[in-house]
């Protein structure tokens, strides 16, 4: 009887600890989100989106330059990253499905997903900034694309592998060549999944700061010329939060709120899309 009670108490204690752990996890999430909302909301104004920063110390101004710069850099990353990612994923799922090289590259992509993004920043600095002699927006886009490619490759591969092999065989039986089978059968079956992968990869790179620090750098003026250093929301947050002025801190909170909400919305949309597509 004694040992039974002991086991019961042990059980209760261990389970309580696990509930406590879950509560800690949720606590951080709500603490962080609440804090960002609390500080950020009061600084969200129209000026934030329509005006450029004032010189340090002056009141007012906004972050229009950073919003536009962030979009341009992300756009460059998408234009490079998405095609390479989808095509590379296609190779891994189809032509390279059983080859050693295919498996090897798939594993490498998995590793690449977690390689420190700041190292990618130094790499792009070495190939695209140092030779040119100045920071430029293109380099930022390329750095983000390098982070994006393995993410898109792996999700594309996984989503295409989920398309049943018999579907491909049915198309082969009609005499379709492999590229037609891929583009007309497999891509259609995996379209939602691939699209979601792209959404999530955009959410991932949109919040990256470290690879932009030495590539696109920052710029307190409005620019659409990617040949010069280009502002981005994330680097602006870094600079403003570390800076000495209170209104800089406020703007950093506001930018943080905008970027967090945008990324969380995209993430949730992606998850819902996947659930809806694969609910059976």
């Amino acid at each position: 009887m004694n040992i039974l009670t002991k086991r019961k108490i042990q059980n209760k204690m261990a389970l309580s600890l696990s509930v406590l752990a879950a509560a800690i996890g949720l606590f951080w999430l709500f603490f962080i989100l609440w804090d960002i909302f609390r500080h950020g909301m009061s600084f969200i104004t129209m000026d934030l989106f329509t005006k450029d920063p004032m010189p340090p110390g002056f009141k007012g101004g906004g972050l229009r330059n950073a919003f536009v710069g962030q979009m341009l850099i992300t756009l460059v990353a998408m234009v490079i990253g998405i095609p390479f990612g989808i095509l590379g994923g296609t190779f891994l799922s189809e032509y390279g499905r059983h080859s050693r090289l295919g498996r090897f590259i798939s594993t490498l992509s998995d590793i690449m997903v977690s390689v420190p993004s700041i190292v990618i920043g130094t790499f792009v600095y070495a190939i695209m900034v140092r030779p040119i002699g100045h920071f430029n927006g293109w380099a930022g886009g390329v750095a983000l694309a390098i982070i994006m490619i393995p993410v898109v490759i792996r999700t594309t591969e996984d989503m295409m592998s989920l398309v049943p092999w018999s579907l491909r065989e049915a198309a082969f039986a009609l005499g379709a060549p492999y590229y037609k089978v891929i583009t007309q059968v497999v891509y259609r079956g995996a379209a939602t999944g691939i699209f979601t992968g792209i959404l999530l990869s955009i959410a991932r790179v949109a919040g990256e700061t470290a690879p932009l620090l030495f590539t696109s750098f920052n710029n307190s003026f409005f620019t659409t010329n990617l040949n010069e250093s280009t502002p981005s929301l994330t680097v602006t947050i870094f600079q403003y939060a570390m800076g000495p002025y209170d209104d800089w801190h406020g703007m950093a909170w506001a930018a943080a709120l905008v970027i967090t909400v945008a990324i969380l919305l995209v993430t949730v949309a992606g998850r819902l899309l996947i659930k809806w597509r694969y609910r059976n």
Binding site: Q10, L87, G88, V115, T122, F123, R130
Partner: protein
């Protein structure tokens, strides 16, 4: 006949294009390695390898550079963050797979995923403005008055509690890796066959005994692999620690001292490096970080592969 040739040609073309796109990953990895080695050559020649990683001096003025202080900061923050994150994330995973009522499961999963999706710069900024004052004003004085009084152990908490230190940085870092580790642990726990669980319940085991003696042993390889991946990520995390670590090149003995990691050094000093040797040394640091995290992640992949192919 010529139509057949055209089709073959198109198929080959598509194959070559997709092959090229997949090879980009390999090219980039080799490219990173080669260019980092090339850029850091002056520093490699001047300081060597063992001398570089054991020298704690980081003196841009006299151009004497050593990686020891940054390496030390990287390893200490990572280890401490792992020590905080491992129990919490395993607890979360147990809660999600074994205890959570069904209607809460979806919400809990989404919450963890959202926590994982928040960009690291947000964690860093939040750490600077919210967590650091709390740590500096409340938590750290409290730790000094309790654990700080114990001989030997107390020296870990000596110094002035400012909130910008190793302890705060590790806490932020642990919050960042908890969702990642928890979701990996949850996924591996769920792989435990229901039959195994039920047979343990059938002979009268309590829930905790089922978790401890059936679920955990069954999934230990997967959980371990997941932790090593999380460690690889923590090693290279930049923005979450850049705000709250202080970027001070020293081998700190107290957890309440400022320090520097490789990533923080790079983030703060890369754009300011004014001499070739300074630049080369920073590239050398980046190279060491790249090799370190690459090997860690590759080891994790290897562990997970060994496990999935019995």
């Amino acid at each position: 006949m010529s139509k057949q040739n055209l089709t073959d040609y198109k198929d080959t073309l598509f194959r070559v294009i997709t092959f090229g796109a997949a090879m980009v990953v390999l090219v980039v990895i080799v490219g990173i390695f080669v260019s980092l080695v090339e850029q850091s050559l002056p520093a490699i020649r001047k300081f060597g390898f063992f001398h570089f990683i054991t020298t704690p001096t980081w003196d841009p003025v006299h151009e004497v550079f050593g990686a020891a202080s940054s390496l030390y900061g990287t390893i200490v923050t990572t280890v401490l963050a792992m020590a905080i994150a491992i129990p919490v994330s395993i607890g979360i995973a147990i809660f999600m797979t074994e205890l959570c009522p069904n209607f809460l499961k979806g919400a809990m999963g989404t919450a963890i995923e959202l926590l994982a999706a928040i960009p690291s710069i947000i964690y860093g900024m939040w750490g600077l403005f919210t967590l650091a004052p709390i740590m500096g004003n409340t938590v750290e004085p409290f730790l000094q008055h309790t654990i700080g009084k114990i001989p030997y152990l107390g020296s870990l908490f000596s110094g002035t509690p400012l909130g910008i230190d190793i302890l705060t940085a590790s806490t932020v870092l642990s919050i960042m890796i908890i969702p990642f580790m928890a979701s990996i642990a949850r996924d591996t726990f769920m792989l435990t066959p229901q039959v195994l669980r039920e047979s343990a319940y059938g002979i009268g085991a309590t829930r905790w005994e089922v978790i401890r003696n059936v679920v955990l042993p069954y999934s230990k390889g997967g959980v371990f692999g997941g932790m090593v991946i999380a460690m690889g990520r923590a090693l290279g995390e930049t923005m979450a620690v850049a705000f709250v670590l202080g970027n001070k090149h020293q081998i700190a003995h107290s957890l309440l001292d400022a320090s520097a990691t490789i990533t923080v050094t790079l983030a703060n000093e890369f754009t300011e490096a004014d001499s070739n040797m300074y630049m080369a040394s920073l590239f050398y640091l980046a190279l060491i970080l790249f090799v370190m995290s690459f090997l860690t992640l590759a080891a994790a992949k290897f562990i997970l592969k060994e496990r999935s192919a019995p």
